[in-house]
Symmetry: C2
Subunit: 393 residues, 2 copies
């Protein structure tokens, strides 16, 4: 009845494939690798409870009142100090805006940059949430192949030359959906290709803190070498996703435009949450907390990798994650992961077929597995069932 | 440097006029009627502190985890029951989606309905936040005159006939910026004019609960008579704005599209805040709390009205508010409220000139005064100063 009223943009936006899948996987007998939820161990619940009572005492009505679009100064200051320390970035709080989760950062960047049909380079496969967000601004996506080292440089050169994209969106660390990480060498090569182009590069990094090996942070592409870089970060994977707090770091001119877009989008992000997370960060040892999360995820990823090695046929490829929450499985050429899903669900194991991570491509032979919400026994049992399902397609 | 990258939509969105004004009005010696902040008395701080500790005990990690795009069931259920009770609406939770403040509701409705140049009827003057939000979707606004009774029916008929707008956006109760309220008769007449049109009517009602006189709620336009009505509500003026929680009530088909748009915009609203407000609402007497807010605002509005009667020349018109947070002053024909602002600020009194509430119109002779953040003595002194400034233009 309302179809004639709806905008072209919303009618062309795919409804959530994953959400439909998650409905099927709710049953308790199903082992689900389909979700993308952080393990609850990553929420410092006791510390947050202390913080919430402290901010109520300290700040009174300020934690409930309207606030500024840019976000709480102390939280932005924390982010500045952290990025200065880790990455030697030359930034101050005018380079940082708080967003309602990283998802809102994507929406705001779409608002600020995209005219209809503007070309956006994304990885192949790419993050579903970005595809949805930019679809609403009628982006013209070009996907560039992602492999074990990062972007395929030849394909990248070709993409740049042929399409001259206005924006590129990349997830250099422990990518969602693939779990892949760009090597240091690949990052340098990518920057060589793009550095003289009229292109803004968005690097989304929700998982960057969750690197399993110590002392091996790899710098962002073109770090500190260009003003055309935009960095996205989030507290969702290291403190709490339910509070919906992320941030954008960029040139001030860009941040100013994002501020206008954000004002029209939700005025400002929840200020109670900003006081809470700020208080938590200044009064606790974040590194120790992150260590705890990493230790758990590392052991879970190892359980999954060894189960896959044990049960999967040799021609099935998968990512060995260096961090983050996902691995990515590639079936034999010609197989469909949607077919596999339909078999797997009957054996009470679930995952996300690769389809929604591609633009205009279906029945792909890839799939995403999440390992952060199961113990090693459950992981082994799930992978075993998955292998049984594979034999049927 | 980045201008060439920015979208047409963001370059055509006015930067915030009010925000610039608020910067000038920060000085402690200034009496400011410029803001739009609820009085902190409207935040039930002690009760919220009890609730936050209770939800932490009761729901554990759920209050920190990712959640559903539609919002917390118990909160949506509360809204359903309230609207059923007050308005006899035939709705269930599928008709309700939680938004990140009412401002996000506007953004989402823009996403869902607007193609470039689609016509949107708004009041003259209209809410600045709506003009900004829909400007980003390149709406073509048509403003229809608002007076003491509501919309000017002749002008409305003419607007509908000439422009055939796709959407209309109205604030029937204690409108921002004017403080005006549509009479019951006017609402009926408006519905008679629009009921057979192919038009969606959005009724935004953030102030509806703050009616100063008892027992006199006036039904929405076309209440329970059409599926083409969308109702917006908010907890910002009756519990807390800092938590950013609003909601949309509409036909399920519309809500489903809004859900897709919201998923791409911020995944879901802060779930801690939803548990918190839900717990507060189920465990406290909201009506009594609202009474307290109304009593204060009523006395503040009376102070402002009597000061205006005392000091302003007889040819200056103003709204006598029946609720809400604002009054609206109309200077003599030909005078500019921006001129007045420049004089007033030198006398240490501030307000918002009418300009940003109009589409393509500047140097108007109207202005907005907020009365919810000053005591009667301060209000009288501010109005006295404002009158002195008026004598200079």
């Amino acid at each position: 009845m309302f179809e004639k009223f709806f905008s072209d943009r919303i009618l062309s936006t795919p409804s959530s494939f994953i959400r439909e899948i998650l409905k099927v996987t709710q049953k308790p007998e199903i082992i689900s690798f389909a979700g993308g939820l952080p393990n609850p161990v990553s929420f410092p619940q006791e510390e947050l409870k202390v913080s919430m009572n402290r901010i109520a005492e300290t700040f009174g009505d300020k934690i409930y009142q309207y606030s500024t679009t840019m976000g709480l100064d102390s939280l932005r200051e924390y982010i500045v100090e952290r990025y200065k320390k880790i990455w030697s970035m030359d930034i101050n709080i005018d380079n940082v805006i708080i967003t309602t989760g990283s998802q809102q950062a994507l929406d705001l960047l779409g608002k600020v940059f995209l005219n209809e049909n503007d070309k956006v380079m994304v990885e192949k496969p790419s993050y579903l949430g970005l595809l949805q967000a930019f679809c609403l601004y009628k982006a013209n996506f070009i996907q560039t192949k992602l492999d074990d080292e990062g972007l395929d440089i030849d394909e990248l050169k070709n993409t740049i030359k042929t399409h001259k994209p206005k924006l590129a969106y990349l997830i250099p660390n422990f990518q969602n959906p693939t779990g892949l990480t760009y090597s240091a060498q690949n990052r340098k090569e990518v920057f060589e290709v793009i550095k003289n182009e009229d292109m803004i590069l968005i690097q989304d990094d929700p998982y960057g803190e969750l690197r399993f090996e110590e002392g091996k942070r790899i710098p962002y592409i073109g770090l500190n070498e260009t003003d055309k870089n935009i960095y996205l970060g989030s507290f969702s994977k290291i403190v709490t996703p339910g509070m919906r707090l992320g941030f954008i770091i960029a040139n001030k001119e860009i941040i100013k435009m994002v501020e206008t877009a954000k004002q029209a989008s939700d005025l400002h992000s929840n200020i109670f949450a900003q006081y809470l997370i700020s208080d938590y960060l200044y009064n606790n040892d974040l590194e120790r907390h992150i260590e705890k999360i990493k230790k758990l995820y590392k052991s879970q990823s190892e359980s999954m990798v060894s189960a896959m090695k044990k049960y999967f046929p040799k021609n099935i490829k998968f990512t060995i994650p260096k961090g983050g929450m996902f691995t990515w499985v590639t079936l034999e050429e010609g197989k469909s992961s949607v077919d596999l899903f339909n078999r797997a669900i009957k054996k009470n194991v679930a995952f996300v077929p690769g389809d929604p991570f591609y633009v205009n491509q279906t029945n792909v032979n890839t799939l995403r597995l999440n390992y952060t919400n199961a113990d090693s026994k459950t992981i082994e049992e799930g992978i075993k069932r998955l292998n049984e399902a594979m034999l049927e397609i």
